[in-house]
């Protein structure tokens, strides 16, 4: 157990000093702020004639207020923030192969399972902090808008906040472990990122779209896809959107709440298990 703690501390030491990790967090925060607050608020300020058209100014403003924090934070998790989490996982695990540092780590002391366990724990901590940052900055923006517009600052109940945070963490952890698994299996960074992003942004949407329209026979397949379950889990904990405000891309109700949560957790467990299995049996050349 001490060795796992040592590895986790070493990995966190590396992670906080890695510029790429901060870049990913910055991009996630900027996108979350732009789509969750800046664009809706500019549309409201423009009398409903801004970048979002078709919704009333009041609904646009309501979508940026504190009671929508969970929805605005989770809105991007099934797609763009998920893709960024996948990149994070691929970056953290794949680059050990690219730089050849895995052999340096594996000849220090801890065994392979211990090393991988510590790396996964460190990644989970990084994801947890990233999700927290997005929630906190969302709360800051929502509060600022409420103060400026002199609107009610009614916060979600603590339990709703916790559920939202937990769901967000689970979704982002799933994407990150998928990226990590690809990094371990392909022993690379570029290929996992390329394949993962194409899957998240392209293939999943294509399958979900086709399954929902012309090929309903594909619905069982659609319902086990990571993005669809992430969108369903996000939908389960998001508050009702103001009238005329569409759900963010990827947020869906295709899968029931409990099933979505279990599927997301299954992805995490299976990805970690497969990565451990592959890591244990392979030669490090």
């Amino acid at each position: 157990m001490t060795e796992v703690v040592d590895v986790t501390r070493a990995e966190l030491f590396k992670t906080v000093r890695r510029p790429g990790v901060w870049t990913l967090l910055a991009v996630a925060v900027v996108l979350s702020q732009v789509f969750g607050y800046v664009i809706p608020y500019l549309s409201y300020a423009g009398g409903g004639t801004g970048p979002i058209e078709g919704a009333s100014p009041e609904a646009l403003l309501d979508s940026t207020l504190p009671d929508q924090i969970v929805g605005n934070a989770l809105g991007g998790f099934p797609v763009f923030a998920g893709a960024l989490a996948l990149v994070l996982g691929a970056l953290l695990f794949g680059s050990e192969y690219g730089w050849g540092t895995l052999k340096t780590l594996l000849t220090q002391r801890p065994g392979r399972v211990t090393v991988l366990a510590g790396q996964f724990i460190a990644m989970a901590v990084a994801v947890a902090i990233g999700v927290l940052v997005m929630f906190v900055l969302g709360a800051v923006s929502a509060t600022a808008i409420a103060l400026r517009e002199d609107r009610a600052r009614s916060w979600p109940a603590p339990v709703e906040l916790l559920e939202g945070y937990g769901a967000g963490f689970a979704i982002m952890l799933m994407w990150a472990t998928l990226g990590a698994l690809l990094g371990v299996l392909l022993r690379n960074v570029a290929l996992p990122i390329g394949l993962g992003v194409v899957w998240v942004l392209g293939v999943e949407n294509l399958i979900a779209g086709v399954a929902g329209s012309v090929m309903t026979a594909l619905q069982p397949l659609r319902d086990v896809l990571p993005g669809v379950n992430a969108g369903s889990l996000a939908s389960a904990v998001m508050p009702a959107r103001p009238p005329g405000i569409d759900a963010p891309p990827g947020v869906t109700t295709s899968v029931t709440d409990v099933r979505a949560l279990l599927t997301v957790l299954c992805y995490v467990v299976v990805c970690v298990a497969v990565a451990l299995w592959a890591s244990r049996r392979r030669d490090v050349t």
Binding site: A10, F13, W99, T107, D283
Partner: protein
């Protein structure tokens, strides 16, 4: 003398090709052991198996009495395998801090390790700004972090300038003198001859010789320049001394050191005009080519 590393018929095959073929060797406590062989001979693969990075196809090995890769053994083994590998976005110091945490020794030995390889003044700089030689030295510093009983260094002088090579060899010798066991892989014969107590020569995946450097080099010989050649040949034959055929009055004599005086006296009394007599030590290079060529010719 107890062996800290033992391999028995250690083999690694990829498909039908054995890159390491039934390697049996032993490294004794406190010695500097040279693992000598040309590029592609199987040195690095053997070392990777000793560290648990590669699983052998057959055969077995023990390191400090444990199976390769056992955490208890790794805790006492420092290594640098096939070039240094570090995180380019971290400084040299921080890279060692990461490795120290992994090794369970924290950061207490980081500064001393940097000083041991003369990198203390650049420890705060990012590794991405290091030259190949500096990275190589950082790799050796990482191998010393655990204050290990056994140090495994794979081609540690690669990329170093002449001064760096000299310092590295002195460092390796110091490690040996401090009671540590050092396994040094190299294709540089002079390097191995200078710093190693014993040598294992590997060619085409097989160990073709294992002995002390002196034993491998064998007896020295005498170079004699003298005329007339026919008198030299007859006189030496009378003493039962083997003389390789003369070229322009040059002879190579296989003769024990204590009989050299007797042979020279006989040649002088026979009226031979002697212009030069000198004893030449056999170089490891000569032995190396002999044993590796024999191994290749037997394939």
């Amino acid at each position: 003398m107890s062996a800290v590393v033992v391999t028995r018929n250690l083999t690694k095959a990829y498909g039908d090709t054995a890159v390491v073929d039934r390697v049996s060797l032993s490294v004794h406590r406190g010695e500097v052991y040279g693992f000598l062989g040309p590029n592609g001979a199987g040195k690095t693969t053997t070392l990777r198996m000793l560290l648990g990075l590669i699983r052998p196809t057959s055969g077995d090995a023990t390191v400090l009495g444990r199976r390769p890769g056992d955490p208890a053994a790794l805790a006492r083994v420092g290594s640098m395998i096939e070039g240094p590998a570090f995180y380019p976005y971290l400084s040299g110091h921080d890279n060692l801090a990461v490795m120290g945490r992994y090794a369970g020794v924290g950061t207490r030995t980081v500064q001393a390790s940097l000083e041991a390889v003369d990198l203390a003044s650049r420890g705060g700089d990012k590794v991405s700004t290091y030259s190949l030689g500096m990275k190589q030295r950082l790799g050796v510093a990482a191998a010393l972090l655990k204050e290990p009983d056994v140090v495994v260094l794979d081609e540690p002088t690669n990329g170093l300038d002449p001064a760096g090579i000299r310092e590295m060899r002195a460092l390796i010798r110091r490690l040996g003198n401090s009671g540590r066991t050092v396994i040094l892989s190299s294709h540089m014969l002079g390097e191995v001859q200078q710093v190693c107590d014993r040598v294992g020569v590997i060619a085409s995946g097989r160990v073709v010789a294992e002995n002390t450097v002196d034993e491998l080099r064998g007896d020295s010989h005498v170079v004699l320049r003298a005329t007339p050649s026919d008198v030299v040949t007859v006189t030496l034959a009378g003493l039962d001394v083997e003389a390789l055929p003369a070229v322009d009055g040059h002879f190579e004599l296989e003769i024990d050191e204590h009989r050299t005086g007797e042979a020279i006296r006989a040649l002088v009394l026979a009226g031979v005009d002697i212009r030069e007599v000198r004893r030449v030590d056999r170089q490891l290079e000569d032995v190396f080519f002999e044993v590796t060529e024999e191994a290749v010719s037997h394939d």
